[in-house]
């Protein structure tokens, strides 16, 4: 499948629930798309005027097209996202979770070592022992040539989502 077709199929599914931006720059990196999802739920007592607490869950999906994917590119992305995460997340008492998902769409993958490093990657951060929520970074690597999906630790459940696009 071609990159353009794959992305069109993804965006068709995402636009119902996500706010989508094209050409999004983060640090020095330019992502093709950013899809954002923000959810806020509130608990109240008696009437809706008496709000007890709120819960905020956020997801940011960063899409990037990389014709030839290699380890150095992957490492570069991890640094960018790890730095950005600390800038973007606001760990208030109402913050519950923030997920960064980086979807790398590649035509070719340099070697198996890149795949193996991506599969081993895990990043999560807890704010005040989770009382102020937590944040995670997950990677999804889409190999267009073999139509295979690889995910980092904690992102296993995403495999089905991106596999389905094929």
């Amino acid at each position: 499948m071609k990159y353009e077709t794959y992305m069109q199929n993804i965006m068709k599914k995402f636009h119902h629930h996500f706010d989508i931006r094209e050409n999004y720059s983060l640090k020095d990196y330019n992502f093709d798309y950013l899809a954002e999802f923000h959810e806020r739920s509130e608990k109240y007592f008696a009437s809706k005027k008496i709000v007890l607490d709120g819960m905020e869950n956020n997801e940011y999906c960063f899409f990037t097209y990389v014709p030839d994917m290699g380890l150095s590119h992957f490492n570069h992305l991890t640094h960018i996202l790890e730095d950005a995460l600390l800038d973007i997340v606001e760990p208030t008492s109402e913050h519950m979770s923030t997920l960064f998902t980086c979807i790398i769409i590649a035509e070719n993958i340099d070697d198996d070592h890149t795949i193996s490093m991506l599969k081993k990657y895990r990043y999560s951060k807890s704010f005040l022992f989770n009382f102020k929520g937590w944040a995670k970074i997950r990677f999804v690597l889409v190999d267009l040539s073999s139509e295979k999906i690889y995910t980092s630790k904690g992102g296993e459940r995403l495999k089905k989502v991106y596999d389905f696009i094929f």
Partner: protein
């Protein structure tokens, strides 16, 4: 089915249960009116204060009947009204009533000490330590949640805030009048109840407007004081007077039901699995206070057992108040059963649904709907404050017991000092309220029911020790362990998926605690011969 038939049936069943099963329990356990109660033997004028049964009943009932018996049945009604009604009836009679009565009785036989001390004497000291830490942390969580609830209510409705402050002042005058000035309790009650209703008008006339954060701090200061002052000056009279609000609310609901006779709109039964929620264990965890709640055992073995005048009152207070709470839970169930799903969605919160129900029922005898439903909301807010200050005191007891030298039975450690014990409880609870307690609040349902199972375990071990029948305890205990352990399993599974590992860790720790205590007590409960506890 209509609401009238259900409420009448429940009340008749409860009266029969009280007279028969309650009396049978008292006989089997050997309730002995010749034994001097801890309130007399250990009288200190602060925590141990011998008190008339109807005053203690008011305190106990007001403390256990916060929002729980209202929120639980309404939240569980998506399974249909039949399973909820059956669990309220069976649960109150054979589970909750036995649990509350048993905890109160066993505590009275252990100098009015907590369930932790009963575990210490009858199962082992390591079990006691684990139980006390667990129970204390649960209370800290309750303080965090109720501090938020009360502060949010006060901040959004200044009239409720003024009325609640007024109730506190009124309670102090009532306590002094009855306990120091020798005014008869009958006259003081009549005047107190009239002034209680004047307070509702006073609140509307002079609302106090402050932010939620300021109220949270003020409430922390209030419970800090309320937890250490003599029980007769504030906690006891406030709960006693407040209980009349609850009685009035319930009487209004029942009388209204007699005239309104609402037909049920919700289905009788919707299935064993609804929207991914299984009837077992969710029904039993959700209905909670309406049938059985571990928090009740902490109240029974905390403040109530230190005030009760004689063992003869234990059935009235322990068993009786659980059955009254069952009636309240039934009214709550009817208040959701008679409205459509659309109306329920429009009303939103269970408290609002309950206020709408009772407000509607009371219109049949001339009470304006707005006044009726506002009165109900006010009464529930008052109970949230009652739960809050009782919880702070219970937390203080647990810390003191934990650090008290068991040999000398005196608070020799600095940590057993009542001011330290209260401060650490209130600061941690209040601080958690500011920090994001909602992330761990979902554990409360399971931990509360685990408390119930462990309390039943402690009472069963005690009855075994004194060679009394304990089968009436064992059966509910086994079911409550099954409920809790299954619910904790579901909680762990669901939160691994969402990534809330704080909750997962707490749930695993609770599972370990339950297993340790089950293993420790298994030998004791299955032993054929037993020595009598000293």
């Amino acid at each position: 089915m209509n609401g009238l038939l259900l409420i009448i049936s429940v009340i008749i069943i409860f009266i029969i249960a009280y007279a028969t099963y309650g009396a049978w329990l008292a006989k089997k356990w050997g309730i002995d009116i010749s034994i001097s109660a801890p309130s007399h033997r250990l009288k200190d004028g602060i925590d141990y204060v011998p008190t008339k049964y109807y005053v203690v009943l008011g305190h106990h009932f007001a403390s256990i009947a916060g929002a729980g018996p209202i929120v639980g049945p309404i939240s569980a009604a998506f399974f249909g009204w039949v399973p909820v009604a059956l669990w309220i009836v069976i649960g109150s009679i054979f589970f909750g009533g036995v649990h509350d009565f048993g905890s109160l009785f066993a505590s009275m036989r252990h100098d009015g000490k907590s369930i932790g001390e009963i575990i210490n004497k009858n199962i082992g000291s390591s079990g006691q330590k684990l139980f006390v830490i667990f129970a204390w942390l649960t209370l800290v969580l309750v303080i965090a949640a109720f501090n938020n609830i009360v502060a949010a209510t006060f901040a959004s409705n200044g009239a409720v805030a003024t009325t609640s402050v007024y109730f506190i002042v009124l309670a102090i005058f009532f306590g002094i009048a009855v306990n120091k000035k020798g005014i008869s309790i009958g006259i003081a009650t009549i005047v107190g109840v009239i002034l209680l209703f004047v307070g509702i008008w006073f609140g509307s006339a002079f609302p106090i407007v402050l932010s939620k954060e300021i109220w949270m701090v003020l409430l922390m200061a209030y419970i800090l004081i309320a937890a250490v002052t003599p029980v007769w000056i504030l906690l006891q009279p406030r709960d006693y007077l407040n209980s009349y609000l609850l009685y009035a609310m319930m009487a209004g609901g029942v009388i209204g039901l007699l005239l309104y006779r609402p037909a049920f709109e919700i289905p009788a039964f919707t299935g064993f699995s609804v929207n991914g929620q299984f009837l077992f264990p969710m029904l039993f965890v959700t209905v909670a206070c309406g049938a059985i709640s571990g928090f009740h055992s902490l109240v029974a073995s905390g403040t109530t057992s230190k005030q009760i005048d004689n063992e003869r009152d234990a059935k009235k207070i322990g068993y009786g108040s659980m059955l009254i709470e069952g009636v309240l839970a039934t009214i709550a169930l009817i208040s959701i059963a008679f409205i459509t799903a659309d109306k329920a969605a429009e009303l939103g919160s269970p408290i609002n649904i309950f206020a709408n129900g009772v407000g509607t029922f009371m219109t049949t005898f001339g009470v304006d709907y707005t006044i009726g439903s506002s009165f109900v909301s006010l009464a529930i807010s008052a109970f949230a404050l009652t739960t809050l200050d009782t919880t702070a005191r219970l937390g203080r007891f647990l810390v003191q017991e934990f650090f008290t030298n068991k040999e000398e039975e005196a608070p020799t450690s600095f940590f057993a000092n009542k001011y330290f014990a209260t401060t650490v409880t209130v600061l941690l609870g209040g601080g958690l309220g500011f920090m994001g307690y909602a992330k761990v609040w979902p554990i409360f349902g399971s931990s509360n029911q685990l408390l119930a199972a462990l309390s039943l375990l402690a009472v069963a071990a005690y009855l075994k020790h004194i060679k009394k029948a304990n089968s009436m305890i064992i059966i509910p205990m086994v079911l409550m362990f099954l409920v809790t352990l299954t619910a904790l399993g579901f909680l762990i599974r669901d939160n691994i998926a969402t990534g809330n590992f704080l909750l997962v860790i707490i749930a695993i720790l609770l599972l370990i605690l339950a297993v340790i205590l089950i293993i420790q007590s298994y030998k004791i409960l299955t032993k054929k011969e037993s020595t009598i506890a000293e």
